[in-house]
């Protein structure tokens, strides 16, 4: 099966129902995308599939063959992603940081679709869990990134 990840093509030989998350982490060694729940609850595993924020832990890899997959590893090569990262740094968002790959990916997807999001847009898109409670800093960083 051929996957396009961060603009690079990868051949993977794997059971087609394997979640994309584990293909990224175990087969391709891209561990920036995190496992939190495996059940579409937390969003730690968020990647972009054709620009859409997608929970890779419940995404069978066969369903994204032929799609453009973007992961946190390529975040600073993306102009929107770069803005998001700078806003994340400026707002000291991360605490333990474990959820933040997914948060940054979700924010990047949001700003690609709505460059000037309303507070409702932000609330609607930024739904990933953070056990460290960085939610206020996340919202502030998204607003700042939209202005950048």
């Amino acid at each position: 099966m051929e996957l396009t990840i961060n603009g690079t093509k990868h051949q993977v030989d794997i059971e087609p129902d394997t979640p994309l998350l584990w293909v990224l982490r175990d087969e391709l060694g891209m561990t920036g995308t995190k496992y939190g729940c495996g059940l579409a609850q937390c969003g730690a595993c968020t990647v972009l599939v054709d620009g859409q924020a997608t929970r890779s832990c419940v995404t069978p890899v066969e369903s994204v063959a032929g799609s453009e997959i973007m992961t946190i590893e390529a975040i600073t090569e993306d102009s929107v992603g770069q803005k998001v990262v700078e806003a994340w740094v400026a707002n000291h968002v991360a605490q333990c940081g474990y959820c933040q790959s997914g948060q940054v990916m979700a924010a990047t997807a949001l700003l690609k679709q709505s460059p000037q999001p309303t507070d409702e847009d932000i609330a609607g898109a930024m739904v990933n869990l953070c056990r460290c409670g960085t939610y206020n800093a996340i919202a502030a960083a998204v607003r700042q990134a939209a202005q950048a």
Partner: protein
């Protein structure tokens, strides 16, 4: 109060604390390895230096600091980073005295070793102890290193030390205008004896301590580069997944479909472990699919400590706690509570309770184990106490502790999760599997296995009685709590003494109530219990501060005013209470109508956790029976501070976790098994329920207190007190989602 201090001393004296009593020889071996690994010191001299003297923790510069040729600093932290910002705080503290910008530090968790026993003679990251226990020592360490650099520069330049000064990262000879970067004299400085007579910087001259210095890890954590235990990989590694016995104490009997599972893709081998089965495979997903496909007959084994009874339910256990009778063993007494209650004009009584909680840190636990050819064992494991894990691993592996190399990666959240708890840590399984297959093993517990084997915040029930005088002033307060505390569970409990972790937050309160008695009835908790952010305070301040409002109401007093009055003799606390009121725009209880037309109320609470003082106000409304918390104001007095930005972040974090526990969280057991195995059955705070958080830091100059946990305990009672006003009825049981708000105005 300093609730974790008993732990520090108990660690040293207890069974689990044996690592701290090992022979010095064992320790030297281990620490020497680290020394040679990290420092340019010639090995011979290092050995001589190490062997020469008794090691005083936190003094040997070479164990902590390596100044690299580019003048950046590699610093080995005795404390593990898990989101609380300790690596940044260490860089600020050491950098201030060393004269190196914290931004030029690279910080990592130190290996086990006698140099790092900075927590009351032991070592753990917890109890909000890290900065306050090591602040002076780490400043002195930085100053010693700077002094050594000055001496090395003096020798090189041929001038007296007294003519030299430093600027960040370099030594300056003002008279000649010459400068030497630290990196150029680091080798020479490392060869000098550690400077002991050093002057510390004047507080007024601080450049980094007390400033909102940027976190060192923030960029890596925003770009997916930060590596946690779960991310690590070594050559030749295989992956493992486990299925645990649904009830602790079950052992795997027959595996009905073993042959089928063996044939599943990628499967290497199937293993029976104590209380679990494991599959080793060439990817974790394959290991997980296979192990979950295994049909296991579980048989009850005899003799498992804390085996879970087949009929255990949280409902029945709570009933048992509530039914616990008697006056218990006294922990704190003042005056004569019995006669004060008898003579009181009015007696108020109420009973409170709180449920089990899971830690729910977002990184599921894992362990990477590698046996080396020389018989030593290398472990990469999330942990808050490297020496304790080292000792336990050595025992399990049947080798000497110095043969166990412990790596302590960044933690994806911890909140008390990564202490050594019987059956709650994956590393014993990883050690065994790695031995069995002769290859390195990375074991990950699925979120479902984590929900099954986490060490829970204990549940508890408390009965209060208060006596009021004719003016409605409290003159007596009696509390009897029932349950079991985690400190007693893991560090030894004396039957005639109360475990402070069971009563902290009911005891140690600051109000001037002349007659008090706080007591405890020990009731064995059938579950594996553990430390959960702010430990006993996480529920006890809820019990006490909410009952406080009941006393106030019974005496027809405003709860803020009553607190204020009872703090008349306690200026530090009164100032803090006034500070939070001012921060919130002036105290008002409500109910009142907000600008958006919603009906709202506020609650206030105070807490004295982990050496800090905290006052909290929360504003709530409700919509269709759901509690909405709009704002939380927190005034925190940790005495003095290192990084206000990190404190603000930690208070935000503590508010989120405290609120999550107050509103939503509850572990329910039926027939010996937990009903929730993932976040779908155990909701935690979502972004839409996060309130605005307003923080005021008050530096009273009192001895330095903790930061990571103190923001939490005031949140549940402040919210519950507000909800009680709004609802017109008391909230005495957590989580508040159980409270029926039907018929309450929105």
């Amino acid at each position: 109060m300093n609730e974790m201090t008993p732990i520090a001393s108990e660690i040293m004296s207890s069974e689990l604390g044996k690592p701290f009593k090992l022979s010095r020889r064992g320790f030297l071996g281990a620490s020497l390895g680290a020394l040679v690994l990290g420092v340019t010191l010639p090995a011979g001299r290092a050995r001589a230096q190490a062997a020469a003297a008794t090691i005083t923790p936190g003094t040997r510069v070479a164990a902590f600091l390596e100044i690299r040729p580019d003048s950046t600093v590699l610093f080995r932290s005795a404390f593990i980073e898990g989101g609380q910002g300790i690596f940044t705080a260490m860089a600020q503290i050491v950098g201030e005295e060393l004269d190196v910008d914290p931004a030029n530090f690279v910080v990592e968790g130190a290996p086990p070793g006698p140099d790092y026993l900075l927590t009351g003679g032991g070592r753990f990251t917890g109890g909000s102890m890290s900065v306050r226990m090591s602040y002076e020592t780490m400043r002195r360490l930085g100053a010693s290193a700077r002094q050594m650099l000055l001496q090395a520069a003096a020798a090189q330049l041929g001038v007296p030390v007294s003519e030299l000064s430093t600027e960040p990262g370099r030594v300056v000879h003002a008279a000649s205008g010459r400068t030497i970067p630290y990196g150029e004299i680091a080798d020479a400085a490392a060869g000098l004896p550690v400077a002991t007579e050093v002057a510390l910087r004047d507080r007024a001259d601080f450049r980094w301590i007390g400033k909102p210095v940027e976190r060192l890890d923030v960029r890596d954590k925003s770009t997916g580069k930060a590596q946690y235990a779960i991310d690590l990989k070594v050559d030749g590694m295989l992956y493992a997944a486990v299925q645990h016995s649904p009830r602790l104490g079950g052992e795997p009997g027959a595996l009905q479909n073993e042959a089928d599972v063996r044939g599943m893709p990628g499967v290497h081998s199937i293993h029976r472990l104590q209380g679990a089965v494991a599959v080793v495979a060439n990817s974790w997903w394959r290991a997980r699919m296979a192990v979950e496909a295994l049909q296991v007959t579980w048989t009850d084994a005899v003799g498992t400590a804390h085996a879970m009874p087949a009929d255990f339910s949280t409902e029945a256990h709570m009933a048992k706690l509530k039914a616990a009778t008697g006056n218990g063993v006294a922990y704190e007494t003042e005056g004569d509570v019995q006669s004060a209650l008898t003579s009181a004009a009015r007696v108020v009584e109420a009973a409170y309770d709180a449920p089990y909680l899971v830690h729910g840190q977002l990184e599921p636990p894992s362990a990477l184990a590698r046996w080396k050819e020389d018989g030593s064992l290398e472990l990469w494991i999330p942990n808050q106490a490297p020496e304790m894990f080292q000792a336990e691993a050595a025992k399990l592996a049947g080798i000497a502790p110095e043969k166990v190399i412990i790596h302590s990666p960044m933690l994806g959240g911890f909140f008390g999760r990564h202490f050594l708890y019987q059956t709650a840590n994956p590393f014993p399984q990883a050690i065994q599997l790695a031995k069995a297959v002769g290859r390195p093993i990375k074991l990950i517990w699925s979120r479902e296995e984590e929900f099954l084997r986490d060490a829970l915040r204990p549940m508890a029930a408390v009965r209060f009685r208060a006596g009021l005088d004719g003016n409605g002033m409290p003159i007596a307060l009696a509390a009897v709590a029932a349950g079991e505390g985690p400190t007693g569970r893991w560090f030894g409990r004396q039957p005639d003494k109360v475990d402070s972790s069971a009563v902290e937050g009911i005891a140690g309160k600051v109000y001037a109530i002349p007659n008090r008695r706080v007591a405890h009835i020990h009731v064995d908790d059938p579950a594996i219990i553990g430390f959960w952010r702010s430990v006993g305070h996480s529920m006890n301040d809820f019990f006490y501060e909410t009952f406080f409002d009941e006393m106030a109401d019974a005496g027809q007093q405003d709860p803020y005013e009553l607190r204020h009055r009872l703090l008349a003799e306690s200026p530090r606390h009164r100032t803090l209470l006034e500070a939070v009121a001012e921060l919130s725009g002036g105290w008002k209880r409500g109910p009142f109508t907000a600008e958006d037309g919603t009906r709202r109320a506020r609650g206030v609470a105070m807490a004295s956790p982990f050496g800090s003082e905290v006052a909290t106000i929360a504003e709530v409304s409700q919509r269709q029976g759901e509690i909405i918390v709009h704002d939380v104001w927190v005034a925190i007095d940790p005495g003095s501070i290192v990084n206000p930005a990190i404190i603000e972040a930690q208070v935000n974090s503590a508010v989120a976790l405290g609120l999550s526990s107050a509103l939503l969280e509850e572990v329910v057991y039926v027939d010996g098994v937990p009903q929730a195995r993932n976040y779908d059955g155990y909701p935690i705070l979502t972004p839409d329920r996060m309130p605005r958080v307003h923080v005021r830091i008050v530096e009273s100059g009192a001895p330095m207190g903790g930061i990571g946990e103190p923001g939490l305990p005031g949140v549940p009672p402040a919210v519950a007190n507000a909800v009680s006003v709004l609802a017109g009825k008391r909230a005495r049981s957590l989580p508040l989602s159980k409270l029926d708000l039907k018929g309450v105005d929105g």
